[in-house]
């Protein structure tokens, strides 16, 4: 008894000491991630990179419901950085010009976030995760659907499953979509974006709006219709980070630039595939990728 309680006391002292040793204010940064896998994998990738090359401890806050929630948390300083997509500037954050030109969207993102939020929009990583209007392969064949404007003939009896956030998007949401393509579906079903893939596969929905790098498009054999009127703006993935975090840890900028232009859509989809379909952990997938790229030593830290 005596021994056990003394041991307990020792353990609690040690843990208090350890807890106070890693002072969260000084050397911790927090990466935000959204509800879908890709942002979590990228958060894990940067966590591994940063912890490998600096003494900074990295926390990840996953499953944040939307980019505007992430941005608010970044703005408050609860988060230090997160993966973002250039097309998200059309989300009412600051005044923007409507365009689908890749370079122009990117430069608006860089300038806008610097000016209005004091944050740095890094150069794109190399992949795009845009909206993809998709249908089941058999339905596409049966109705001869290749591009979005082909829907014009048969949309009136089609059920349309969409990401809840898309419905209200001011410049590239449903109202604008109806105008651009002249297509109005029989009914729309806004839902969590992670549910649309199975909803399409199980014929609950006829058309769904998916994310283009999601591996479930491959898993369920869904066909993406071509955006023939160039309606959707580009959604190039970049890191967005607070300027004061970068100032406090100047070494971060270089680390955050290591992957610039290195990850294409195929790579990202396959990383997503390993997590979503093969059920591996984001951390393992992230580490393996970095080791393959020669950016990280193979040995597991103790």
């Amino acid at each position: 008894m005596q021994k056990a309680s003394r041991l307990m006391l020792a353990v609690s002292f040690v843990s208090i000491f350890l807890l106070s040793a890693c002072n969260p204010k000084e050397d911790t940064i927090n990466i935000g991630a959204a509800t879908y896998t890709e942002t979590k994998i990228m958060a894990a990738v940067y966590k591994e990179l940063i912890e490998d090359r600096t003494d900074i401890q990295v926390d990840i806050t996953p499953d944040l419901l939307s980019t505007s929630l992430i941005l608010k948390a970044l703005d408050r300083g609860d988060l230090d950085m997160s993966l973002m997509y250039s097309g998200m500037i059309y989300n009412n954050f600051f005044p923007v010009k409507t365009t689908t030109d890749r370079e122009e969207v990117l430069s608006q993102a860089k300038k806008g976030f610097n000016k209005y939020y004091d944050m740095k929009w890094f150069d794109p990583l190399g992949f795009e995760n845009t909206y993809a209007l998709t249908v089941r392969e058999d339905l596409a064949k049966q109705r001869g659907l290749e591009k979005i404007s082909d829907l014009k003939k048969s949309e009136e009896n089609m059920k349309f499953g969409v990401d809840s956030s898309w419905m209200e998007r001011p410049t590239d949401g449903y109202p604008a979509f109806k105008k651009a393509y002249g297509v109005t579906f029989k009914r729309t079903y806004p839902m969590d974006v992670n549910l649309v893939y199975e909803a399409a596969a199980s014929k609950k929905m006829d058309v769904v709006l998916a994310y283009s790098t999601d591996p479930r498009l491959l898993q369920y054999n869904l066909k993406t219709l071509k955006d023939d009127r160039k309606f959707f703006p580009p959604y190039d993935a970049s890191i967005l980070a607070r300027n004061d975090t970068l100032k406090k840890h100047p070494e971060l900028t270089e680390i955050l630039n290591t992957l610039t232009g290195k990850i294409d859509e195929k790579t990202m989809t396959s990383l997503n595939y390993q997590v979503d379909i093969e059920h591996r952990s984001e951390r393992d997938v992230a580490r393996e990728y970095l080791v393959q790229q020669g950016l990280l030593d193979d040995k597991e830290e103790s």
Binding site: N91, S165, P170
Partner: protein, 214 residues
């Protein structure tokens, strides 16, 4: 001031949507609560007929378990069974409505003075007559307050149904959160509150009205 005029313009522009979402919301709440009433009240009546407590503790236990499943988890579990849309939402909310309805009906009937029942039996009332003419009328305030309580909280929980494609006022809140649109969040929230208050008021009025007359 500027914000108020902006909000009024927003309402003018969007009221068909807001009404449609409110309608969906009411359909989900109504179906869940009505189904819940049918199942829970009749189960409770049957349970009061059993002498030993095994059947009732089993049913209460079951209803209690449904109540403790986190709502997101319940929705997630129902998707493989029922897919997306209105059905999984209604089923989930129906399961949540069971416990308070069951408990109130059961204890309402149990609370009826056994002397009254005895007197009715003496007057030659059949079991069904006792139930219909004595037990249910006397238990009515309990049952109605159960329905009132259940309806109010199901109205607020229905906002969650939006994540599985069931529609309702939750759509406005989630879309507002995603697009940095506070008008949408505000409208969705306030409409849900108004619905809940109205339901509370109406059901409260119904239960009072009848008890005074009797």
């Amino acid at each position: 001031m500027n914000m108020i005029t902006e909000y009024i313009t927003f309402l003018k522009e969007r009221y068909p949507d807001i009404l449609a979402r409110t309608g969906e919301h009411l359909i989900i709440v109504g179906s869940a609560v009505i189904l819940g009433c049918i199942v829970a009240i009749s189960t409770a009546i049957i349970l009061t007929r059993f002498k030993d407590g095994f059947a009732s503790s089993l049913s209460f236990g079951l209803a209690n378990i449904f109540q403790t499943i986190p709502s997101i988890a319940l929705l997630a579990m129902l998707i493989p069974l029922l897919g997306v849309g209105r059905n999984p939402a209604i089923l989930a909310l129906f399961l949540y409505s069971l416990l308070p309805l069951l408990r109130n009906t059961y204890s309402g009937i149990k609370e009826v003075d056994s002397n009254i029942i005895e007197a009715a039996r003496g007057m030659g009332y059949s079991s069904f007559q006792r139930l219909w003419k004595i037990e249910l009328p006397l238990a009515r305030p309990y049952i109605l307050s159960g329905i009132r309580l259940t309806t109010v909280y199901i109205i607020s929980w229905t906002t969650l149904a939006a994540i599985v494609g069931a529609g309702g006022l939750g759509d406005l809140i989630i879309a507002g959160m995603a697009n940095n649109n506070n008008f949408l969040i505000f409208t969705g929230t306030v409409s849900a509150i108004i619905l809940a208050l109205a339901a509370d008021l109406i059901l409260g009025f119904i239960s009072k009205d009848r008890t005074i007359k009797e």
